[in-house]
């Protein structure tokens, strides 16, 4: 009889942890980076995943069990909250399936210059006030009136705060707070379903990948505030401000991830990397703007007993030497299109290489193409352990039949005993 519950959970975690610690597990662990794929697999639209938390989490459970995943993609990194929560505050930075994009397309991020170059000082001086009175009015459609709020620092001046409090009575500001409440109610329903899912997964023996998320500090500025063009110009026009902002957000990134891991009880941190990939910047720029705080972030998480799980989206062929600076056997690195066969030689004794199964093969590859690539990954990158089979990127619209071929090939070729 096959194992269930705690025994199964322990067996899977032992397999995954052995790979992370660069040891040889009983077989190559299998980690489908499902993202929205769980919805497709279970026959629901991506839009429904954002509307019906119970069905969405059930879909993820079904996928984990039927694929017998050793570790499962945390669904909260695909569907952050319900469509209702996003629309209650008219959130502008994400396009939601079934709302702003096709019901079967994944969500998309709307890049923009949400913070202007001349606003660096205001942000650096009082980030909380800046968030409330400048940034939130720009990305939450219902919170435009928050720009009329008094500086929160007023409330640090004793009874002067009572002189400023009348501003909150303005009807558009009050409507803004109501929209936050409405979004919160929706979001709380989603979060409750998520917590129940996490408990059920663990009870049935299926570990989740990561319990917290952190961003490279450069990406926080580039993705959410200045935009790619903005940060690229800042490297030339105002590098000191850019570096100061990166330092400013560093503690938020690491602190947030630690708090999330403590709440979820899952000691692994997803770090999706964006602008550090090959092609975005030179190694010298990477060394100046991107790497120092990313490295500190990973070292800090490791010190706190957590496992950083950076997702090296795109290629990191030019950056592999930087990664050799990291401690041995403490990191699960998810690789997209990096030449992992060379990476095995350069960083194989530093961190666990995860991923690289080309998504394209899981959409349109032939059976032989899928099996041959799986075999090659296991034979070369999986040699002597330290490897987890996974996809190069998120699987969203992969073909379930091809995913099964991949899983079966991983089993067939992936035994170390």
């Amino acid at each position: 009889m096959s194992k269930t519950g705690k025994a199964l959970y322990d067996e899977k975690m032992a397999r995954v942890n052995a790979a992370i610690q660069l040891q040889v597990p009983d077989r190559v662990p299998f980690f489908p980076t499902a993202h929205m794929f769980a919805a497709k697999y279970a026959g629901m639209t991506f839009a429904e995943a954002f509307q019906a938390p119970d069905r969405w989490y059930a879909a993820n459970l079904k996928l984990a069990v039927e694929m017998d995943a050793d570790i499962s993609f945390s669904p909260d990194f695909a569907v952050f909250s319900s469509a209702g929560a996003f629309s209650a505050v008219d959130f502008k930075q994400l396009l939601i399936p079934g709302v702003q994009v096709d019901a079967n397309h994944s969500f998309q991020f709307v890049e923009g210059e949400y913070v202007k170059p001349e606003e660096y000082d205001a942000f650096l001086d009082d980030p909380t006030g800046f968030a409330l009175r400048v940034y939130m009015p720009r990305i939450y459609g219902t919170l435009g009136a928050f720009s009329m709020l008094p500086p929160l620092t007023t409330f640090m001046m004793g009874y002067a705060g009572m002189g400023a409090i009348a501003a909150f009575s303005a009807p558009p500001i009050w409507a803004g707070f109501e929209s936050i409440h409405n979004a919160a109610v929706e979001a709380a329903k989603f979060a409750a379903a998520g917590a129940a899912f996490q408990k059920q997964m663990a009870e049935m023996g299926y570990p989740l990948w990561a319990g917290g998320v952190a961003l490279a500090p450069f990406d926080i500025i580039s993705d959410f505030m200045r935009g790619m063009r903005g940060t690229m110009m800042d490297m030339y026009r105002r590098p000191d401000k850019l570096l100061a902002a990166i330092e400013k957000v560093f503690p938020w990134s690491i602190g947030g991830a630690m708090a999330q891991c403590q709440m979820s009880g899952i000691p692994r941190v997803f770090i999706p990397l964006h602008r550090g990939a090959d092609g975005f910047m030179s190694n010298k720029q990477f060394e100046t703007f991107y790497w120092p705080t990313l490295k500190r972030l990973m070292l800090g998480l490791i010190d706190a007993g957590l496992t950083p799980c950076p997702f090296f989206e795109g290629s990191y062929n030019q950056r592999l030497e930087f990664l050799t600076e990291l401690p041995r056997g403490k990191i699960m690195g998810l690789f997209d299109q990096t030449d992992v066969f060379r990476a095995k030689e350069v960083i194989g004794s530093t961190l666990c290489i995860t991923g690289n199964m080309p998504i394209a093969l899981l959409h349109v590859g032939t059976k032989d193409e899928i099996r041959n690539y799986t075999k090659k990954l296991i034979e070369v990158v999986g040699k002597d352990g330290g490897f987890i089979m996974s996809c190069g990127g998120v699987m969203d619209e992969a073909d379930p039949e091809r995913v099964r071929i991949w899983r079966d090939a991983t089993r067939e070729f992936g035994s170390y005993r």
Binding site: H105, M228, R237, G279, G314, I359, A360
Partner: protein
């Protein structure tokens, strides 16, 4: 020895370059010659990008400086003059459903500095728009871009629509983006894919003789 404006622009020394351009204008240099210097500088930027010396920050800054120079000399330009002869036409856009444009913009920049006339349709471009633009712009090459995997089907649909409109034989089609491989070329019915912006230039150059 290169002109000092060309050098300052190509080395991304923005303040200095703008100061030199202003000096040239003040001393009565032909505005067309200043634009020519800027064009030469963009060629160097493109070359350094192709050689892995420059990356996105330099392309972004080069584009910014080019705009600044154009704005500076425009009021003094008597007439636009005959446009430089282009190698050929490329129509490009990110396919329906996808709003990513970083890669497409690099390809557009590199095709432009390498002498192609590029019409960039932007992001989330419906297949009907590609068909209509092929009819009016008459490109020899069409570039379809997409970062997300949903682009596989959107590319296939765009190419099917181009075929259905009887235009498939008139254009070569290249695709590109984060998750594009040979298997996706086969699936979509494109002619080829480019791994990076230089590959797009090589493909277009090979097709347009």
């Amino acid at each position: 020895m290169a002109d000092k404006l060309v050098e300052a622009l190509a080395d991304i020394r923005e303040d200095e370059a703008m100061k030199i351009a202003q000096e040239y204008l003040d001393r009565g240099e032909d505005p067309k010659q200043i634009l020519e210097y800027a064009r030469q500088a963009m060629d160097l930027v493109g070359e350094r990008f192709a050689n892995g010396v420059y990356f996105l920050p330099e392309l972004v800054m080069a584009g910014e400086m080019m705009n600044e120079i154009s704005a500076m000399v425009k009021p003094k330009l008597a007439s636009a003059g005959p446009a430089a002869k282009k190698l050929g036409k490329v129509l490009i856009g990110t396919v329906k459903g996808d709003i990513h444009d970083i890669g497409k913009n690099i390809v557009t920049f590199m095709l432009d500095v390498n002498g192609f006339e590029v019409r960039d349709l932007g992001i989330d471009v419906p297949k009907e728009t590609f068909v209509a633009e092929i009819q009016t712009f008459k490109p020899q090459v069409v570039g379809l871009s997409g970062f997300l995997t949903l682009a596989y089907d959107a590319m296939k649909e765009a190419i099917d629509a181009i075929t259905a409109a009887g235009l498939r034989e008139k254009v070569k089609i290249m695709i590109g983006g984060g998750q594009i491989t040979d298997e996706v070329v086969r699936y979509t019915g494109a002619d080829a894919y480019g791994k990076d912006a230089m590959a797009a230039v090589t493909l277009a150059s090979g097709w347009i003789k």
